[in-house]
Symmetry: C2
Subunit: 390 residues, 2 copies
């Protein structure tokens, strides 16, 4: 355990929770969403802008930083916070998910995983011990165990073997963990199988980690399955430890996750779709390239308090996107992140007020969710493109 209480549960309401994370770089209220800065930068933004948008914790990625610029370079620069000039909290992913989704070739053994860089094809070997060592050197506030991820559709024996290996690796990570003022989180696996999920949660719970992540979801399965497994897994985790649903960041999914007892979310989705011109509103995503915006004097979302909506007309943002101007990407990113920040803050308030279920129902009734077949097709396409980056 860290030498301080890492998580403090403040209140629950209809299964939703609000609490507070203690980190070396400040307190973080939950539920919380972490903007993704895989390569030590939240795409297109300065640290000051991330802070001004309201965030005080982000995610960075060990796999990406290990390959480029290298853990040694960041160590020489005084650690990840100083390297990227971010004085808020940082959570680093162990790199497990990226090795399985990005690396063109990998060879697994109980010892660890050999993989090839998606950048230059060079060969690398990572073990649970090295994953912890790298994250300790980076100096993140929350670090993750190395896990073996299953793909959607894997056979049952393969999923079980991956889960068992994830458990053995979790033990080794716990043993390798030296800098106890960083909080180490375990990752529950078990594919789409409720019995395996239960087994995984119980085993990892017995090891007494400061926090628990729900891994292996949002990998192409139908949303109702995701939600059922989130609810089941969260219910099996200790109430006094934070619960982190990895890679989930659509507004409606965050609301559904909070409703099922999740505390922490991260996803590149809000920033990625922003760069494609998809902007969040309480009614759903809108595409700024739509003809109606070309002449609109008001902001994209009149209810929004982000820099973009306070400063520019929808017509201007539309012009920037049509002209392929770099500023378009920044302005859309700021909008979507502010939307998520406000949404999560409103949920914290509703939990404290005891009105969460009302808030959730109102939000979901007003929010036009991306059509499920379209969403699944987009997800498959995106997973495929990631693979093709090889």
């Amino acid at each position: 355990m860290p030498p301080y209480q890492h998580f403090h549960l403040i209140k629950t309401c209809d299964g939703a929770r609000t609490g507070e994370l203690n980190t070396l770089h400040g307190k973080v209220l939950t539920p919380v969403f972490l903007p993704v800065g895989s390569q030590a930068t939240v795409k297109s933004l300065t640290p000051g802008e991330i802070r001004d948008t309201g965030f005080n914790m982000i995610l960075a990625n060990t796999y990406h930083l290990y390959l480029r610029p290298g853990i040694d370079v960041i160590e020489k620069m005084g650690g990840l916070h100083r390297f990227m000039a971010w004085d808020g909290a940082i959570l680093t992913d162990s790199g497990g998910y990226q090795v399985f989704s990005l690396a063109p070739l990998r060879r697994l053994s109980d010892d660890g995983v050999m993989f090839r860089s998606h950048i230059d094809g060079t060969e690398h070997f990572i073990t649970p011990e090295l994953a912890i060592q790298y994250q300790e050197t980076l100096g993140a506030d929350i670090i993750m165990v190395l896990d073996e991820c299953s793909a959607y559709g894997d056979r049952s024996e393969k999923i079980q073997a991956a889960m068992d290996r994830t458990h053995r690796w979790a033990e080794r990570c716990l043993h390798a963990w030296k800098k106890r003022d960083q909080a180490l989180y375990a990752i529950v696996q078990g594919g789409m199988s409720p019995p395996l999920r239960e087994k995984s949660a119980q085993f990892l719970r017995s090891l007494d980690f400061p926090g628990y992540a729900i891994g292996g979801l949002s990998v192409g399965e139908p949303k109702e399955i995701t939600l059922a497994l989130v609810a089941q897994t969260a219910s099996l985790l200790p109430a006094d430890r934070p619960r982190y649903l990895m890679g989930v960041g659509a507004p409606d999914d965050i609301v559904q996750g909070v409703a099922r007892g999740v505390d922490i979310f991260d996803s590149a989705l809000p920033t990625r779709v922003a760069r494609n011109g998809a902007l969040f509103t309480r009614q759903g995503r809108v595409n700024i390239r739509r003809a109606a915006f070309q002449n609109l004097e008001g902001p994209v979302d009149p209810t929004c308090d982000c820099y973009t909506c306070r400063t520019f007309s929808a017509a201007y943002l539309s012009h920037l996107f049509r002209s392929e101007e770099l500023l378009a990407l920044r302005l859309a990113t700021l909008h979507n992140l502010r939307f998520i920040y406000n949404l999560v803050g409103q949920m914290r308030g509703a939990i404290l007020d005891g009105t969460f279920t009302q808030f959730r129902d109102d939000f979901l009734a007003g929010y036009r969710t991306t059509d499920e077949p379209v969403r699944l097709a987009q997800k498959q396409k995106w997973l495929k493109e990631r693979g093709a980056q090889q």
Copy 2:
């Protein structure tokens, strides 16, 4: 003439001048460099960042804005200042240069010029009167006459005919000019011929414009020719009117221009080369992709006070460029613009102090100019690529 004194010459020193431009959006000290925001955005930056870098005047382009989003859209949004949320001064180019350098096809007559859009191939017709009308509608503080630009290497008769047409068009622009609180500048042409330049300067001078631009230079000719023609043309212009050298923005070229009596400069070069990783220092341009920067803890330029150099190591900027991160483009742009801002400010100080020649000699002795054959090859390549955008 505008209903106020547009330009006030404060002091001259060894041929260099410092003065003050009065505009509806504030006073602008000269010499001044204008960041280029052709499409109503200085690439990658917000209006606040341009202001924080020190600038209070920028350039936008009528050709680009006419084609996209359209003059009518910007009019509906309350004019160009409000459209792009910039409350400093704006100079708009008439679009003449872009018609000649970007449009894939054009047909000239005394009446005006028919051209095809480089975006969608649609046909358009612009006249001197329309060029003024568009700029009045945009609401820029300084507007330019429509001119006919010659290419480097054009035959003498062709250059003379273009100059004569430029003169006729200047008269028509003057006649069409209604909103006299915008300052209208004439453009001296005449190719590489000193006698034609003299004729052009004298003719336009007789029309009594609020300001004069030196056009048709930096189009592929050797630098010594540019400098000689700048010196000659500037000496023929009235001392009490501002002199604007269009499209010049390399640090050493700005210093040489100021030494020859130029007051206003604009160029996309500082921001364009920034996005390629070329950063200005007092010793010359450095390429951030050089191996030496990968491990450098200090900033790219330890003497620089820009946001980038105050906040990040060269190693971080190097990492962002190697990782093709969007933030790289912003940070390099901020650095180069701040470098130019500081350089121009130092020249203003030296002129006031009576030490300009010393400053110029010191700067040029320390600044490693881009090798002339390399520069000319780059320029030709760039002019060609612009042509190929068709």
